[in-house]
Subunit: 555 residues, 2 copies
């Protein structure tokens, strides 16, 4: 057990799509030097995380082992890979490495917490490499739905690992580097110990399509539109935004970008030179001054986000612009599972305005940024690793991806968040488990997913909340009657009398019956009053509310 | 304005998919005699209706005009068409008419409210008709994803209306009547004033597929499964349940049905004779006694419902049955938008158990129960109505369906819930608007969507809840310190001191500064204390909680 080993430890992203955070280690067991690859966010929902702002991996284990951490490497600038860097960096405090575009976005996030631009070192792609303890790490360009996405070539004294990052095999990605199979083969030719690989689209049976294929379709559509055209896509998909803008320009339209995230991404792309040219952009104010058939808006909010431009435009005037009968709204995007209702709501609001909607139902106006099943097979063939470690997927994706690898005669391992895998041998072995979970940013406070805070909110949302107040004098005798405040509950139930009156009457009777032992004991009194409220509520309104009992003693 | 007219007034189902409730009237304006077609439910979600049990159309207008209502007709037994009959019948009190299977289900719902079976009259299909005031109504068999679905032929002195109900054009529906184009043409040959038509699948470009096509695919899949097979589908899709059960039987498996709704539906289908034969069914207990490769479970919960059989089996042992590595779980269903997360959660839990999942991604194991765009065109051609009234759809579906009709040279009208349409002339005209909305069944109480109760719950879920208590003596002087109880909020914020201490300190200072005018006035005092709590909370935790202030005066 004293020989050195290579470990892989996902803290996030293996068991969900989102909040990626992967640790690699090399050294003697328990003394491995560590690097972190990506530190992203996931997004809350009303079902499980009401009121939460964002979610990221619980990195307590990394904080405890901070002295062993050498560096952070960010593969690309999607929120689920870089989004938590600002919220977590202070507790890790090591250098961050990324390519120019990603570094630009990361610096913006760090600046919100007052950290200087030097926190991030901009690195060039392979063959340039960065030393970090026992690791030598190079950024290997690969195509994805954002500029400068990169795989990582991670060299250790125990062998070479290839971490794909998010990727697709695109020979014509419009913006950024095409997938270069020769380069990937060259890097892999001396043997790769493990391929740690994106699993998102393992269930998609056909080879992925190139970004270049959507341009002509979009162009035809935009050219035929009689009134204003509005198109939405993921703000970070710079290639798509460019394709949309150029289609508009060719159709003689002026381009206006709406949404902070989209302007920020295009700005970063221009600043870092990842796009050479971009059509001239006009302001929303100018857009209102020219005939609507000469305008094309490209806007944020393809996932139905309530505060993004799409939703705002669907609701009414936004930045002085109002959509009208005959306008065309293009969703150049797919709806991520869970976001359907928000997107559909926007579609219906647009329909009420008489706006015609085109979505990607037919597959013409969007292509995925992730490798499909045959692409994953091709990647395995090119890199030819001993071991395949599926990452970036829910359990079902990881399992399917592992089966795919094993079916092709390679060693695979299903490692979900918290699973420490030893990659040193020919077969991966589980070296242990680390406590992981989710951290919520809630307002300005970071709370744990298991703290019970969000659970209480969900309970209040489902059951309503009753607050009971009672005052007791120095002799533990009730002073006046107890009273109730209801929040989120019907006012009148079965008896056709106000629920609050019925609860107060029942509580009053309870106090009348209660003996000294109960009246003198806060816990007993609280428990009794809670029971009364819950039972009476079930009788009256068929619900058991949450109950807070406030006991004031004048003693 | 004194001549008689035909009116159409959707109270639910026109502007959403769900809670169908369509009113027809005939007579002098304002004195029309009325019938109600369907009275269904919609399902709540955490985003907009936390804690609500079910949703149905606000029928206040019907209640106010109860003396004009002649009868209720139910087209078929889906929850969104019959689900609210039990909750609403008492306030309407008119006879209900339905075909045998639908009547069986409706009687079950009415029995829960103590209403007798005679409340529902079982009617035979066309050419039998029922008189209801000026209306003569016949049930015209049509294929759908439930037995005995029917369109309605509604004759009025002003002409014939055809209300399709939910339908598809299926020549081989496995269970129940095939679509009979000659019958529909015969009924329509003397002229149809208006076709009121299902819009659900107006965006589906290809003709719908027959139920008969899924059988062979399911059979092949089940026959090749090495271990237990579990299949889920909509409980009410009796044809599919039969297809699944017969595939299991042919593969030498014993069939076990899990889930109350599914057993109830098969029972109703057998009782009313809509299925002649159904494979022998064994109990869950017996299922555990035979080798798992000889068992097939058919279970509820295809939409990810937390309490249904699929979710229970995914979580652990259910009815003594436990799923294992190598079992096959088939989703013979599509996921209704909004239910994706629940379904995916089940898939991942199954994946953790090593269960292999087959869903309908490839379109092999499920077909829709609704008419696609070419089928809607065909229906228009057969019925050849003057006017097409799209129903059963969100705004975007209704609008597209109207455009489809107009594009083919027919009059169309976009009538959402509350729009009263006069169908008497050659062109439909809007005769007025009626207040509509949603009623929530919340526990045992019916509440209005705009009552604010659910809004308060959502606010507590997003913002947390602070309860402030203060006691004032006879001279309006605070007795002791004010205190706070937090629910759903972080305990510690920016100052690293308990939030509750900081709020109490700030409130105490406020009371110390407050003058007689404030202390003597509940509203002023409450407003001031709420402001303090909200401002201090924003500083500490970056959130503005909901605040309830309880003021006790000893006077």
């Amino acid at each position: 057990m004293s020989s050195e080993r290579i470990i892989y430890l996902p803290l996030g992203g293996a068991g969900e799509i989102g909040m990626n955070a992967y640790v690699y280690g090399y050294g003697k067991p328990g003394e491995e030097r560590l690097i972190l690859v990506d530190i992203g966010v996931a997004f809350p929902d009303m079902d499980t995380t009401p009121g939460v702002d964002i979610i990221f991996a619980d990195i307590s284990w990394l904080k405890e082992n901070r002295d062993r951490l050498e560096a952070i490497f960010i593969t690309h600038a999607h929120e689920d890979h870089v989004g938590a860097i600002g919220h977590t960096w202070e507790s890790l405090g090591v250098p961050i490495f990324a390519r120019a575009f990603t570094a630009n976005i990361a610096r913006g996030k760090l600046a919100e917490y007052g950290h200087s631009p030097e926190t991030v070192t901009t690195v060039s792609p392979w063959p340039e490499t960065t030393k970090a303890g026992p690791f030598t790490v190079g950024f290997l360009p690969i195509s994805h739905s954002i500029p400068e996405s990169s795989g990582l070539v991670i060299d250790t004294p125990g062998g070479r690992l290839v971490h794909t990052g998010d990727f697709k095999l695109d020979a014509n990605p419009v913006v950024g580097e095409a997938f270069d199979p020769e380069l990937w083969a060259e890097v892999s030719k001396d043997g790769v110990k493990a391929l740690i690989c994106d699993s998102t689209n393992v269930f998609s049976p056909n080879p992925g399509r190139s970004e270049i294929t959507v341009g002509p379709e979009i162009e035809t559509l935009v050219a035929s539109a009689p009134q204003m055209v509005i198109a939405t896509t993921f703000a970070s998909n710079v290639a798509r935004v460019k394709t949309l803008a150029e289609a508009g320009e060719r159709a003689g339209r002026s381009i206006c970008l709406l949404g902070r995230a989209m302007r920020r991404m295009i700005e970063a792309a221009v600043e870092t030179g990842v796009i050479g040219s971009f059509p001239k952009v006009i302001s929303p104010e100018d857009a209102t001054q020219i005939p609507r058939e000469n305008v094309m808006l490209i806007v944020t909010g393809s996932q139905g986000e309530r505060r993004a431009a799409s939703a705002q435009l669907a609701r009414g005037k936004y930045n002085g612009i109002e959509l009208k009968e005959g306008d065309l709204f293009l969703f150049s995007s797919k709806t991520i599972p869970g976001n359907e209702k928000g997107v559909i709501q926007i579609m219906n609001s647009l329909s009420e305005k008489g706006v015609d909607i085109v979505d990607d139902d037919g597959g013409k106006y969007h292509v995925s940024g992730h490798a499909n099943r045959p692409d994953l097979e091709r990647m395995q063939d090119i890199v030819n690793p001993q071991i395949v470690v599926p990452m970036h997927g829910e359990h079902r994706h990881l399992r399917e991806h592992m089966k795919l690898a094993e079916g092709r005669g390679r060693a695979g391992v299903l490692a979900i968040n918290g699973t420490m895998v030893d990659l040193s041998g020919n077969q991966p072995t589980v070296a242990g488990y680390v406590e992981t979970g989710r951290t919520y940013l809630d307002g300005s406070v970071q709370i744990g997913a298991l703290d019970g805070i969000v659970r209480d909110r969900i309970r209040m949302a489902l059951n309503g909340h009753v607050v009971v107040t009672v005052i007791l004098d120095e002799e533990d005798e009730p002073l006046g009657e107890p009273w109730c405040e209801l929040m989120g509950l019907p006012e009148i139930g079965r008896s056709n009398a106000p629920l609050v009156d019925i609860l107060e009457e029942d509580l009053s009777q309870f106090l009348g019956r209660a003996g000294e032992k109960t009246l003198g004991d806060d816990d007993k009194l609280e428990e009794g009053m809670r029971r009364i409220v819950r039972n009476s509520s079930v009788n009256e309104i068929g619900k058991k509310p949450e109950v807070t009992v406030v006991i004031s003693r004048l003693s």
